[in-house]
Amino acid sequence: MIKKWLKYLWPDAYIVFTQSPEGLNATQYILKGDKPDIVGESSFAISKNQISKDCATYIQEYLSVYPQTQLIFLTSAPSCSAVGTCNMSEMVEHGIDMSIVKYVCKKNFSTYISIMDLEEDKLLFKPFQLDYLYSPFFIIDEVRSSYSGVVLVALHRQNRLYISIYKNDVLLYADNVIISSSDFEDSIDMSGDDADEMDDADFDLDDLDEFEDELDSLDGLDDFDSDMEATDDKEGFDSIEEDEMESDDELKEYDLRVHEALKTTISQFYSNEKIQSDFVEKIQIIDTMALSDNLFELVKDELFCEVDVKHIDLHKECLNLMLKDTANAIKT
């Protein structure tokens, strides 16, 4: 009775945060009955690896109105990955240094994050205390459709691809891939004098270089570009249409990067000696942005797989994961 009364006075509220190259995206929910209602959406910049003043004010105001507000964050940490075991010794065999990671186990697989990244995520919200920090691999596990064969499930976020390969619903392989770091580079606040920030930028640029080298070696990309040029010549678009085409090209280039990342991951999966690799029969793409249909066609044609696409609201799924998680934790 008192609990109901308290819930009526102070309803459970949630702010789900995700990080993108532009900054932090936040969605606010209030739990009415058992159903969460969206209250609003906001975006905030990140300065010096900390939330901006605007974001702090926003959280503070929200907490003053709804003291039971839970802050949920879906990590974007590059160290975050998953492995198909909950056994520590087996995790060590997979090359994971258990002294520098924190892992969480779910049924038959674990997802882990380096303690440094974990602390960075926590510090990001300073002076507020983060309540829940989830791995995108749990979102994949929640959202994916059950499949009896070998299936590659890829969660696509902006410039980021989280890939899990399952066989008979058992995780075989997982990877966290940066699609394109060019946007990341642009978004970094270069006005800051912080040396650590510059180090981070250097790290990203290195990754980009490596990635671009791999992309240069792609025959498919060249073919695709030449196809596009040929199409342009045939149609004879005027200058405005050319601009639109340029943005289309950019999008397609991005799609190709996604395609390449998938291809690379599959090849890495096949070449991994620790895993009994089987042929990937199906690819499930869980898209949180708007990947073009061309990509799905390309993946289907080049990787000879059945492609299944699912569009999700990442914040909503993250909240659902949290609600399910807490409900399960209370039960047990």
Binding site: P67, K106, D131, Y132, F138
Partner: protein, 175 residues
């Protein structure tokens, strides 16, 4: 709320901040004081009302007492009136008797007298009938409406007499 899948364990959030807690405690204290004061007032009112009731009872009792005293007073008053009347009557009677005995001359000796409301009976001895008639009968006649006298002769020559004197108006004797 507990979590199994989060990398961090959420801490329980407080429903109220310190300022609100202080405010609520303050309000509770004020509320308690008001309630205590209200209870005190109601107890006082109850005591007063029971006091009033007992006072009303006392008043009723005293009114009844006053009534009984009034009744007693009126009775006493009546008795006093009666006593006064008796006293007056006695005074008058005493005066009458004194007057009566003043009427008796030295030669006549009274042996007995009966004084009733409307009559006076005298028994006595007189040396002669004339002494009686002149010295006693005359004043008796001036007082009583009717006089009857009977004489009995004695051996020594004197007379024993019985005089019956009647008043037609009863008030006359006492006057």
């Amino acid at each position: 709320m507990p979590s199994k899948l989060s990398f961090i364990t959420p801490k329980r959030r407080k429903y109220l901040d310190l300022e609100t807690k202080i405010l609520i405690v303050f309000l509770i204290v004020i509320g308690c004081i008001i309630i205590a004061f209200a209870i005190f007032l109601s107890v006082q009112a109850l005591a007063k009302s029971s006091n009033t009731k007992s006072m009303q009872k006392e008043i009723a009792m005293m009114e009844a007492e006053i009534e009984s005293y009034d009744f007693e007073y009126s009775q006493i008053k009546a008795l006093q009136r009666k006593a006064d009347e008796v006293y007056t009557a006695n005074e008058l009677l005493r005066g009458s008797i004194r007057n009566l005995f003043d009427l008796i001359p030295d030669q006549i000796t009274l042996s007995k007298s009966i004084m009733e409301k409307d009559r006076l009976i005298l028994y006595g001895v007189t040396p002669s009938k004339e002494v009686y008639n002149f010295m006693l009968l005359s004043p008796l006649k001036s007082i009583f409406h009717e006089n009857r006298t009977t004489f009995y002769s004695l051996e020594n020559g004197w007379y024993r007499f019985v005089s019956v004197n009647v008043l037609h108006d009863a008030q006359g004797l006492t006057q």
